[in-house]
Structures are given as C-alpha cells and as structure tokens.
C-alpha cells in the first residue's frame, strides 16, 4: 500500500476517533483506509476517476464517483464531522465555491494545498522566468491539473473574506513540519482546519 503523504499524516493525526468523514478526491483510498484502521472512522470517499473509485471500492471502502463542484450540493448541512480536501483545492474549477460547500457539509474541514509562494517557486520564476516545476508541482504549465495556484497568504485572505473560522494550521517544508512564521515564504505545503 502507498504511504500517506505528509499532509495526510497531519490530517490523520487530528481526526477524532469514530468520526464521520468525507474525503473528497480520495484517490484509491489510502487516507480513508488509515482513518478506518487507526481512528475507527466512518469514512466516505468522493473521487472523479472511475479507475481509482473501483480500486478503493475493491478494498471494501465506501466511495462515490463524483465531482466536488457538482455533487457536494446533494449532501445535507453538517452531515459529516470532517470533510477533507487534500491536494485538490488547486485543481477544482471554483475553489471558493467548493470551500463554501466543505464548511456547509462538514462541522470542520481540512484543506491542504501546495504553497505557490514557497521560496523555491519564487526563485524559479524570478531567475528562470518560466512556470515553476518543483517536487510538489511536477507538471508543466500545459498539463498540470493545478489550474488555480494559490499561496498561504491568498488562502488566508479568502477564508477571512468568507468569514470562516480557523481551528488549526500546519506547514510543511520537505516532509517535516515547519513553523508558522514566514510560512508564506518557507512552507512548501499548508494544511488548514476550517469551520463555518
């Protein structure tokens, strides 16, 4: 089985035991399985790619093939303890609308994304003059699924504008946690815990 990514490890460590969880963009269910096994969580996954849905279902996980932007509207308010959107926000068509749905459906929402203001990204653009290709953003500009690059400060501004409350924030540099100070420059990756 594939290892959890560092952001997924942070999320898994902060999900309460027995919680009801919706994992959006769950892939083949690596994080879901971790939550089921270590947190006895009741987890539903949503994934757009049918082959990944089939792989997760074959593991005995509950997964619905669907599109975050189109299908989240069908879930009642506050029907999950946590909604997780890991490494997916930057790939959806309207991240702002998806965020609205996350905090509507979930009592709390974990959101993780690669920080486009990390110094290596900045340097790459500044010096190279080309769209950055980094470890966390390995695709070229033309084939990247990440259509809305976002920085830590952009995200903070959006949640402030939307009036969401923030219950936690974690930052990663490499695969290890880094401090909040200068996160917009130093963090490769951010995890936020939000609520309405």
């Amino acid at each position: 089985m594939t290892e959890l990514r560092p952001d997924q490890k942070i999320i898994a460590a902060h999900v309460a035991d027995g919680a009801r969880v919706l994992d959006i963009g769950c892939g083949s269910g690596v994080l879901m399985q971790e939550l089921v096994e270590t947190r006895a969580a009741d987890v539903l996954g949503m994934e757009i790619n049918p082959a990944k849905v089939a792989a997760a279902m074959a593991r005995g996980l509950s997964v619905a093939q669907g599109d975050a932007l189109k299908d989240l509207v069908h879930y009642p308010d506050q029907s999950f303890d946590y909604v997780i959107l890991s490494q997916t926000l930057q790939a959806v068509k309207r991240p702002d609308l998806v965020l609205d749905e996350l905090v509507r459906i979930g009592r709390q929402a974990f959101v993780s994304f690669p920080n486009f203001a990390h110094w290596r990204v900045r340097l790459s653009l500044l010096v190279g003059g080309r769209m950055p290709v980094t470890r966390l953003l390995p695709e070229q500009w033309y084939d990247t699924p990440n259509i809305h690059h976002v920085t830590v400060d952009d995200f903070r501004a959006l949640i402030r504008d939307r009036g969401f409350k923030q219950d936690g924030q974690w930052f990663l540099s490499g695969d290890t946690q880094t401090g909040r100070g200068a996160a917009n420059l130093m963090a490769e990756h951010a995890v936020f815990l939000l609520r309405r």
């Binding site: 009741d42 539903l44 049918p50 082959a51 849905v53 089939a54 792989a55 279902m57 074959a58 593991r59 005995g60 996980l61 509950s62 997964v63 619905a64 093939q65 669907g66 069908h74 879930y75 009642p76 029907s79």
Partner: protein
Amino acid sequence: MQHADRHSQSVKLDSPLPLDCGKQLEGVEIAYASHGALNADKSNAILICHALTGDQYVASDHPVTGKPGWWTRMVGPGRPIDTDRYHVICANVLGSCMGSTGPASICPVTGKPYAMDFPVITIADMVRAQAMLLDHLGIEKLHAVVGGSMGGMQALSWAAQYPACVGAAAVIASTSRHSAQNIAFHEVGRQAIMADPSWQGGEYYDDGGAAPSAGLAVARMAAHITYLSEAGLTEKFGRRLQDRDVKTFGFDADFQIESYLRHQGINFVERFDANSYLYITRAMDYFDLSEAHGGLLAQAFAGTTTRFCLISFNTDWLYPTAESRTILQALHAAGADASFVELESAFGHDAFLLENAEMKAIMRGFLNDGGTV
C-alpha cells in the same frame, strides 16, 4: 453445517401471499437454487435476484438450454460471490415460468392455468415472496442481496421493505423507477405478443404447443436491442451481410444483425412463457420506489443501516448512469453508507452479465467488508 448445492428445488409457501393489487395468492410455489454451505448461525446468506428473463440457474446449467448458469463468472467457488464463503440463494421470481408460481401455473380454485386471471404483480410482491421463502428456510438476515437490472430493482426494494434483514445491497445497471422510455419499449413487446393470433387472450396453454411464439420472439428482439449499445452493435455486426455477398432485394435476414436478433427471438421462446413476459414487464413498469414516499426516494431508505454498492455502465442507455446517481443522492441524503461507480464497457446494459475485472474486484471487496463471516 447445512449444505448443499441444490440446483433447483421448490418450496410451497405456508400462507397466502398478499399482493400490492389488493388480492392474495394461495399456494404459491417458489423455485430456487442454492450454492455453498449455510453457516451455523445462518449469517452468510446472499440472495441473488435475477433479471426479467433470468431464472434461478445463476451458477448451474440451465435445464432447457443446457447452457452454463447466467452469472458463473461472478458466482462460484473462489469467485467474487464466493460459494466457499457464502450460501448463495437465487429464486425464480413470482410470475416467471421456471418453477415459481406464474400465469402458466395451475390455479388451485379452477384447476386450470391462471393465464390472464393471474393477478398483476409488482417488484415488491416478488420481494415479499422471496422474504417468505427465506422465512421458510429459517434465514432471518441476509449478508447481502445482489442484483442487476430487474434484479437491482429487487435488491433496492429488499433494502426498502426489509431494512433490518439486509446487511448490504449491490444494485447493478439498475434504476429506482421505470422511465417513460423503459415503459414504451415494454409496451412494444407486450403488443407484439398480444397481436399474435396464437395468444388467444392468454388462453393458449391447452392448445398443444400453439403458444404465441412469433409475438414473444418479436418482443425479445425489440428488448434485446435495448440491452446492447449502438457502438457494440456496430462493432459486432456493422452493415455486414449474413452468409451472402449481395443484398437479396427481399425481406430475408440479409444483415447479420437481423439474423442475430431472429436467433435471439427463436431461442428465447423455447425457454420462456409469453404471459410471464407480459406480467413481469408490467411489474417493472409499475416500479417506482419513491411513489409510496411522496416522490421522495430518500424517504424509502430513512434510517437504513444497509451498505449499498451501485454500479452503472457508461454505454447502458436502458438504465443510464443518471439513474444510479439519483439512487446515490437519495441514499446519501438518507445518511446511508453508499458507494457508486460508473464502469466502462462497450456492451451497453448487457455489460453486467459479461466479463468485467473491475466489477468483480468491487463485488469481492464490497461483500467481504463489514466483517468476515
């Protein structure tokens, strides 16, 4: 440990079967097959529900056609529905003609075949009859109920009618209600049967074999088209001619597709009763699970603890993916544990009967979750 692979046996229900139409049926017989051993606490039973023209021969040779069971790729030792682990039961539906009570059965009152005196039945009635069969067998709770097409309608109905008795429900290439288009195709089939002079108002049983075969064959031909995809037909037959190099400028089966459909029709009438076809298609047309709940499908599953697995196929235009999505949304609105995936196949509605590695893996994972038995 009870055992046995019983390739078909029959149970006569002890009490009358109440029907949705208000009538009740006395002396109902249900024919069923079973595979794999029932465990000591009777917790490993899986009920498989068959489609319109299916029967209990899911994993054993068909007595009329001699062909292997209709889902041997899915059901058997080591298969996704593993008879080494599960006790699999498949019952011929009420109204059918492979041993369960239907219009060709003898009415205990008149001593003659029911024919059109058979009451109009529903999917819920079929499920009620299956529940009485399971009562008779002493099985109180099903590990799972699994069905494709009309079998999926039964699986959904099982979960709605007997929520405490269904641990898990797998609903494949199916729908929660028959659409206008679905009803329309069935009506074409029924009219073909009733337009056959041999049908005689359904009273053809005494006539020494003059059943409405032509009408039933046409009904089967029309229905068969709905089971296949346009792309599948093009790939398999295209405009190719049948055993000839040029068109005959006549109405013989010039094209391979014509020959194929005629063949399907002729084979079908050997194993199926025309009146059963009328009654079962009617039951499907009457199917709308939300009807009894003010049109709110989610209400049909309120408070359910059943786990659901929905599978659709991208080329199925009989029960397209949108139907499965409707069911998924209702189940999630009801707070149910429900999975859904649209699988790729070139073969249209029939895909659920054909080889599909993903469907097999999903079924295995779905059935084995929620504790081993």
